[in-house]
């Protein structure tokens, strides 16, 4: 598979502490990759290394199949980015800010107006950015990242400071990028709900470690309902089911069944009845994606 972003054993230590630890990030072309993790998980640190702003302690970064170490300039010609808080020159207007970057990117002059319209800042293009609201600065940052129509867009918490309608606009904009321009997007967030409607792939990171990386569908599957069964003797029933080759977990109050379809539920219950267990309760527990995400990141905390 062709990966636009691929890191191998990527590690960054600050003193003794590992902010990023053996991270293997893989982003196929045309995906919108949601990079999720709680505060301090190492998202920004990873992104800094992806952009060559910071050197990895060990491991490697490959973008477009090229090694960052030796092809930084080549790679960055095709990357647009917004890292952490929006960066800008306060004494310049929105337009002038983009012009300062445009000179280095050699993008055509018309692009400035185009991207300003795209993020709805065209009306205030001649205002000094120091008077902008946080959301406006954030939009300007996104405009700057798209100035040269990059193949890869890296956005670190781009919805920071945006109002709800701004978030929706941004989501629509980002969603359109792979379709219209074949762009690949990496977008970090600490809220799954913020990206689950647009991301096609997710990577979850806590304490510098990647603990989940797969398509959003796979994540949804995990989130799918699990069936909880309570019987007269949970433990014995659970052992019996395992011996019978069924997938089940023993909870405190009940047995958790991981099931794919209804038939399987029926079969499991049938089996328990045949084995002579008294079934007290069968209930469905649905977990939101957000819960899954919280759980994932919590488990890691407990270690």
């Amino acid at each position: 598979m062709e990966y636009i972003v691929e890191t191998k054993n990527l590690t960054k230590s600050f003193g003794k502490e590992k902010a990023v630890s053996n991270l293997e990030m893989k982003i196929p072309k045309g995906e919108i990759y949601g990079f999720l993790g709680p505060n301090g998980a190492g998202k920004t640190t990873t992104i800094r290394m992806l952009l060559g702003l910071m050197r990895p302690t060990s491991g490697s970064v490959q973008l477009f199949g090229k090694d960052m170490k030796n092809n930084r300039i080549d790679i960055l010609k095709n990357v647009g980015s917004l890292v952490e808080n929006p960066s800008y020159y306060p004494h310049l207007t929105a337009k002038e800010n983009l012009e300062a970057s445009r000179k280095i990117l050699h993008a055509p002059k018309e692009r400035i107006d185009e991207v300003l319209k795209l993020v709805r800042l065209h009306g205030v293009r001649n205002k000094k950015v120091k008077g902008f609201s946080l959301g406006m600065k954030q939009r300007l940052g996104i405009a700057a990242a798209m100035l040269h129509q990059p193949e890869l867009l890296i956005l670190d918490e781009p919805t920071n400071g945006l109002d709800p309608s701004g978030i929706i606009e941004m989501r629509e904009l980002i969603q359109s990028l792979p379709k219209e321009y074949g762009m690949t997007v990496l977008i970090s967030s600490h809220l799954l709900s913020e990206i689950d409607q647009m991301a096609t792939r997710v990577g979850v990171v806590t304490k510098g470690k990647m603990i989940f990386q797969d398509s959003i569908e796979t994540m949804r599957k995990i989130a799918q309902a699990s069936i909880q069964i309570k019987v007269n003797d949970n433990e014995a029933a659970w052992r019996s089911m395992l011996a019978n080759g069924q997938k089940a977990d023993l909870g405190e109050e009940h047995i958790n069944l991981q099931v794919e379809d209804d038939e399987q539920v029926a079969a499991s219950i049938d089996y328990l009845v045949q084995q002579g267990f008294s079934i007290y309760r069968v209930q469905e527990e649905t977990r939101s994606l957000e819960n899954i995400f919280l759980e994932m990141t919590k488990e890691e905390h407990a270690e």
Binding site: L53, V83, S87, Y89, A100, K103, A144
Partner: protein, 242 residues
């Protein structure tokens, strides 16, 4: 490279800091105007003015303002995450460093030219009738400029390293102020980088030397400290985590 310099210039010219370039030449003008002729008995009234003006200008204002300009040129990057925006663009850090440095050199050259205008104005207003001694004056302009090369390199280094405006300025002042004392010392004066702008603009210096100081002093002190500071700053910037 040109595009990086042009971007740097673009950011700078949209601000008011370019007015800083006027400060030192205006101070020179003021000193030249307020000093009266005929108290040091030089061969030519132009020389007299030059000696007066060059002292304050070259000992204090030229190095100080150069240092401030170096901070200003990094300030925009420090302010609101400009470094990460700039360095995530397809540009090497080497080019960014060099562009900032070259732009500083150009700005300071402009400042020297403005100072040249100041000298001329002083003479005109003061009613000096002798011909303008361009053969001497251009040497002080170019010599003084070259002497700032290492100072700017150091200031650029320090300005990149510190987010605050105060730290580079303090270092600037700490090295510049002692110049007044050091240049009077026969032993240390020639080796003190901050003293070189004055020495290379001092028309009362050794007349047989092209830039009023021996060439080996220029090479060793100016050249040596330039290499040290420039390479130091360059390498520091390469390694700096953004």
């Amino acid at each position: 490279m040109i595009s990086v310099i042009s971007s740097e210039w673009y950011k700078l010219r949209k601000s008011k800091v370019l007015l800083l370039l006027l400060v030192a030449p205006l101070v020179g003008l003021f000193i030249g105007m307020s000093s009266s002729l005929g108290d040091i008995g030089a061969i030519n009234p132009w020389y007299e003015k030059l000696v007066m003006m060059n002292f304050t200008y070259a000992v204090l204002f030229l190095p100080l303002i150069s240092g401030v300009l170096a901070s200003v040129i990094c300030r925009y990057e420090h302010q609101k995450g400009g470094w990460k925006q700039l360095l995530a663009l397809p540009v090497t850090r080497g080019k960014v460093f060099l562009s900032k440095y070259v732009l500083l050199l150009l700005l300071i050259f402009v400042m020297q030219l403005l100072y040249l205008v100041s000298i001329y104005l002083v003479g005109m207003i003061g009613g000096i009738t002798e011909p303008f001694p361009m053969d001497i004056v251009w040497k002080t302009i170019v010599g003084g400029w070259m002497a700032t090369f290492p100072l700017i390199a150091l200031q650029l280094w320090v300005s990149i390293a510190f987010k605050s405006f105060a730290a580079p300025f303090a270092i600037n002042v700490i090295f510049t102020l002692p110049t007044i004392l050091v240049i009077n010392s026969e032993r240390f004066g020639p080796y003190y980088p901050w003293g070189q702008p004055f020495l290379m603009m001092n028309i009362g210096g050794s007349a047989e030397d092209f830039f009023f100081v021996p060439w080996d002093q220029i090479l060793m002190v100016v050249g040596g400290s330039f290499l040290l500071f420039f390479i130091g700053g360059y390498l520091y910037f390469q390694r700096k985590a953004i």
